[in-house]
Symmetry: C2
Subunit: 307 residues, 2 copies
Amino acid sequence: MKIRVNEVGPRDGLQGQGKTLSTEARLELIRALVNAGIRHVEAGSFVSPKAVPQMAGTADIFPHLPNTETVRYAGLVPNMKGYELAVAAGARVVNVVLSVTETMNQKNISMSLDQTAQVCTEIVERGRSEGIEVQAYLAVAYECPFEGMVSPEVVARFGRQMQEAGASKIIVADTIGAANPEQVRRVLDVLIPSVPSEKLSCHFHDTRGMALANITAALDRGISEFDSSIGGLGGCPFSPGATGNVATEDVVLLLHSMGYDIGIDPLNLVPVVKFAEELTGVSLGGKSYRWLDQQYRKQRGKSGHGR
Amino acid sequence: MKIRVNEVGPRDGLQGQGKTLSTEARLELIRALVNAGIRHVEAGSFVSPKAVPQMAGTADIFPHLPNTETVRYAGLVPNMKGYELAVAAGARVVNVVLSVTETMNQKNISMSLDQTAQVCTEIVERGRSEGIEVQAYLAVAYECPFEGMVSPEVVARFGRQMQEAGASKIIVADTIGAANPEQVRRVLDVLIPSVPSEKLSCHFHDTRGMALANITAALDRGISEFDSSIGGLGGCPFSPGATGNVATEDVVLLLHSMGYDIGIDPLNLVPVVKFAEELTGVSLGGKSYRWLDQQYRKQRGKSGHGR
């Protein structure tokens, strides 16, 4: 079975960092990821540079993305203006984010849940009419930092709405890393009758250490696409407990070990983690990183490229 | 459903540390664990102090173990002499270890696989006749560092042998942290027809970051007991990539979040991790520890005990 790993480090990862990288440095990170075998990348977002300075210049990145015939790149857009900027920059896939609770929308983007759902629906519909793929994130799908536990029925309702509008993919996002495998099963079991598993993707953070367990539970439900971020890049470096997306190397190693066809050698990710560390100045690496690094050194030693 | 968490930090954890703790310090760690709600502890091993100085004096620990009416303590024994020492010290539960590959036995204890199986069988049978519970570990059950992948049929054969001899529990041990959820299912599916799931327990290391995913897979197969080590204590501090047992706080948080009845509040483990760090001088903490520590500080602040 073919499983897709969607790298979100260049967007979700970098946007939470204290250091703002140049567009050239962001492109270098993307090139390193693609060279390591990554074939799905969220390359940046088309948001106000005042709100998210880390993402300024995404429009300059898209025309220079490598291997566009074989790699699928997406850009995140917050509204119709962002959609237009993304399409103008050459994006063929755009992502919209619909947080499924009222308070999260109010606090995060000063819009009501209904307004956000409306904006997302309009972007999805316009994308469909213009031949642009639009993927819809359902954020805080398990737990909202303001409203607590989220009902699976709410997730299913908005999933259905985005599916009916024509979203190419619905991504169930555990934005604050609160999900456990039991909840993952519950949410997917309620959601899948409305949105078939092949149109679903899952986005986990590893805050409570359960991301790989959650991915295992989602695989059991037929999910075949997962977001991850190289080295676990993400979260806020100023908040000690806030950890990032599940690390790409952890997800790739899990899937590779389980025998899934992903087309990425986990060891190839080791130098990319190191490179992301150099670029961001942040110490990175998922739970498997120390072991992978050891294996990498052994292999490199054997092949004569070691020190 | 009731799930048991068996704390192996005082044995499997401490025996790999550079620093040898006093028997009083080892007892203090056990007391802290028991105060936090732990009800199953591997308290030490009855091995040669020359071979494993960290475990010297285990015979002096057993008579002083706290809450013996409510807490189940086990002692590891390598041979019949160890069994006799354990029983003399008051142990009511002893653990034997049967590595299921030839080379692992040769390298580790200079015995053949057949010899080890014979010794383990004799201890199990003697324990049964003397009213002592004997639990049998099947070590390197997924992968052997010398022989590579292990066939599930081999695990099932030795599981059956220990079960027929009268072992009270068969513990399937991923000694080097190599298992993935798919393998866990495969091994358990072959093993369970010979040894019913309620007599099985699973022991995982988190070397490749998959321990919680493996536990999730084992829960699905009806396994209701798991080994873990406080703070992930274990492995060898001199070997950078060697990580320890899966951390108790990670396992407890996973099970607690999934709604299983374990009788342990994950936050109660935070000060025990800190205490284990003080005792060993090693930086500890599982994947969830930073988040748990944050929650612990918040809760302690609210209850007026914070700084």
